[in-house]
Symmetry: C2
Subunit: 284 residues, 2 copies
DNA sequence: CAGTGGTCTAGACCACCAA
DNA sequence: TGGTGGTCTAGACCACTGC
């Protein structure tokens, strides 16, 4: 057996996963354990090509914070030397991470950790765009924090965030206005532990996407999200906040956002006015 | 100059785009025309790596119908021989086409032209899923064609389909029911020319996705779509068709679907009930 | 068993960027 | 000018499929 596929990661600076001779077999040794990774069931599939193992190792370094959002990671040649594989194999691993928007390649400069700050689209996960013009034509949104409190997770929030009912959570409520018009009313729930110390003041003072603040202040990087969209009517308070009647249909957009390791770290429910905007989706 | 980058495609069976010596330069010859492709402005960017040219040639063959949806395309080796490039270059071209869901690779079998028929997800572009269970748990949708008529394009439809106002279009109206409950009311507009001969009977008789019928009967393959989603209230007839009150908020989902060559070939507006379903979206 | 796509490597050269 | 990512090639071997 040449490649110890399940060797535990030895740490961020030394991952001797491969010790190939120049003509070594490229694939998993069939004498290894069968795919069922263990009694826990949820294990990762045991067989995995080398470039995917490299991908996992890079992912682990990202999770561990070895390279921070916005920073460059080592060059492909350096990573190839570290992992004792060819540049092509590292390249394929990085290709997938770039396709997942975890890394950003810049020819001639290097490969960088993606970040919610300093990317030209202000809100990467916000799909609401104006009927006329594009997202930038309205300028930055006005953001007003209405409420920020600590409370115990409801059953629904607990389920979404993989907490237990009653665990401490932070609840935010805010209004986003575009072109001076209140357009989005959002409730946001965050797990109390990772976001200890987050206050309305810090949010108000911070001038940038909320997810960028999460990265820099709490080390929480959102990389993926799921949304459930419905049409609803607002209650009295919601309609007042958005300046519409209670008979005005609104989009209810429920989002759960996930970090590198796939943990749900935020749930939010937004009410979107769609009289001057629409939710845009590309299908492929 | 080694590679005639702008040589017109010589036809599906002979595309002598490359005549490299074994150590030839890999990139565009800088002595070529500058990137501005011509006075028309909209031209494709003049510089393009070899694998992307191969991709375009394969795309042209798909458009031309050289390989039909569901069929296998030639093997990577065959295509490499045809285009006089290495297998790796063909591979990269196919990789991108597979990522775009135009081709489907099956290890050991070949590479196949994607199709709306015979894919396990019944409706690839339909993002409405039940609150409980998954899309398959409800079984196939009941489809009822309510209306099918030829008329002249309104300004809005003409704009979406790149027609002129007053051009002939086909208008369909149908209701989709899940678990016996009417859930989606859809108006569909199709350009009259390409869909000449489409009737309500043919749609009713056909047992499969509408887009699959478009492929087999009209040679129109939808590969991409854009949706604009809003929350609305139905009018009297719409509410009756869906079995809800006129005060029930619904999703309005406006879709424009595109073919291989990027031409818009369908517009539809769906009204979705979201009391037992939701529109699901993955953000990345 | 032959043929397909999938992985891995090694080496060459190119385009882009910053110093 | 040197370093980065980007492209292209050639050859080897592996995994999967179907005959």
């Amino acid at each position: 057996m040449i490649r110890p596929f399940n060797t535990p990661c030895a740490g961020p600076t030394d991952n001797p996963i491969a010790m190939h001779s120049s003509t070594s077999a490229a694939h998993a040794d069939p004498s290894r354990d069968p795919p069922a990774a263990g009694p826990a069931g949820q294990g990762t599939p045991a067989f995995s090509p080398l470039y995917r193992q490299i991908k996992e190792l890079i992912l682990k370094s990202l999770q561990a914070g070895e390279w921070k959002p916005g920073e460059a990671i080592p060059s492909e040649m350096d990573l190839a030397a570290r992992f004792r594989v060819s540049q092509g194999t590292v390249r394929k691993a990085i290709d997938e991470l770039a396709a997942d928007h975890l890394l950003i390649r810049r020819q001639g400069k290097g490969t960088f950790v993606a970040t919610h700050a300093e990317q030209h689209v202000q809100y990467r996960f916000l799909k609401l765009v104006p009927d006329f013009g594009d997202a930038n034509s309205e300028g930055p949104a006005d953001r007003e924090i209405i409420d920020c409190r600590r409370l115990r997770a409801s059953a629904e929030v607990a389920r979404a965030l993989a907490l237990r009912t009653g665990d401490a959570v932070l609840q935010l409520r805010r209004v986003l206005s575009f072109a001076g018009e209140p357009t989005i009313l959002e409730d946001i729930w965050l797990p109390g532990g990772p976001f200890k110390g987050l206050t309305a003041e810090r949010l108000t003072d911070y001038d940038g996407p909320m997810y960028a603040l999460f990265e820099t202040e709490f080390g929480v990087r959102m990389v993926r999200a799921q949304e459930q969209i419905r049409a609803v009517l607002p209650d009295a308070e919601q309609s007042r906040r958005l300046g519409v009647t209670t008979q005005t249909p609104l989009l209810s957009v429920e989002r759960v956002a996930f970090t590198y390791d796939g943990k749900a770290m935020e749930m939010r429910r937004g009410l979107y006015r769609t009289d001057k905007h629409y939710y845009r989706n590309e299908l492929q």
